[in-house]
Amino acid sequence: MRRQFLSITGLAFGLFLAAAPALAHHSFAAEYDRSKPIKFTGKVTKVEWMNPHVYFYVDVKDEATGQVINYACEGGAPNGLYRNGWRKDSLKAGDSVTVDGWRAKDGSNTVNAGSVVLPDGKKVFAGSADDGGPGARP
């Protein structure tokens, strides 16, 4: 019980510390639900290096059902990512990634990617200042 309490507290604290993604052209809360964090690991199927935000798609297998879900993940604006050193091939189809983010409010498999981590621990393409996105602090 105590352990459960600690882990919930830790989760809440972690969420509190999580950097708010830099979405210039619409409010984060108009599309995503901060109370629905999501984390998964899967294979990148496609990368769209386009404005106003990069999108990449990740196939994730549900171990329980065997069903594969293709998540559409939104990242930062490509120009800001470019200035922070990312290139359109920093993330490629076939790469395995772990994504930490928030689900869309509309129930679709759309996710705001707070952090994107390659198997070697390198972070790529993310929407928040902490992850090399277009640095965005009020």
């Binding site: 108009a30 386009m50 604006a77 679709s108 640095g135």
Partner: protein, 225 residues
């Protein structure tokens, strides 16, 4: 030239603001400010109408979410850079965000019919006060928002912006929002623009290129939370 003539010439030049204004030319980074109330320290001084609009604003309706132009002051508080092109009769701001521009006509007047023909970025005139460019903007289309948080304005919005060159790498930006429909008195915030690296360049931006977000936007009214 005798002394009287020299004094007269200097006074005239000073009056018209043409005495060596600082050069603002270059690539500058904004200080991202998604919520103006955070920069102000509290909510702006709303009229009852303004308070009602703020209470009921729905951020899914953000005009920039639909790729509409960002509006004059929000272009300076977005997380994207701009380029200044400066001449004696005009200072132009070329914003990466939405590939949009503002032209500030130096020592000119607003067109007499500007309020009948509002523009998304408004109409801007300017003059130099020493090291500071003072910009006066009216005729701003009321469909633009002041920030991402959803602060709105009316067609009566009058912006006064002061851009002061602090040193080679920093500009002090003070913007005053005067809108009698929304606010009981003018209010101001101050931000800092930072010069970009020599390798920085304004890059292409087409909001319509892949605006997938728009189909996922959902109601986000404060009153429904």
């Amino acid at each position: 030239m005798n002394l009287t003539a020299l004094v007269f010439a200097v006074a005239l030049a000073s009056q018209s603001g043409t005495t060596n204004p600082p050069d603002l030319t270059g690539f500058w980074n904004n200080q991202y400010t998604p919520n103006l109330a955070q920069a102000l320290g509290h909510e702006p001084p709303y009229t009852s109408y303004g308070a009602e609009r703020w209470k009921n604003v729905d951020t899914k309706d953000d005009p920039t979410g639909m790729c509409l132009p960002v509006g004059p002051s929000r272009a300076f508080t977005a997380p994207m850079p701009f380029q200044v092109v400066q001449g004696p009769t005009m200072v132009a701001f070329l914003f990466e965000y939405q590939t949009i521009y503002r032209m500030v006509y130096i020592d000119k007047k607003h067109p007499p019919d500007i309020m009948d023909y509002p523009e998304f970025m408004g109409h801007s005139i300017g003059h130099w006060e020493g090291d500071t460019l003072v910009i006066d903007t009216v005729g701003i289309n009321e469909r633009s928002w002041l920030d991402t948080a959803g602060h709105e304005h009316s067609g009566q919005l009058h912006l006064i912006e002061r851009i002061q060159k602090l040193d080679n790498d920093h500009l002090k930006y003070t913007v005053t929002y005067d809108d009698p429909m929304f606010f009981t008195q003018p209010w101001s915030i101050t931000r800092t623009f930072t010069r970009g690296k020599p390798t920085d360049r304004i890059m292409a931006y087409s909001c319509e290129e892949n605006n997938k977000d728009v189909e996922h936007l959902r109601s986000n009214k404060k009153t429904e939370q």
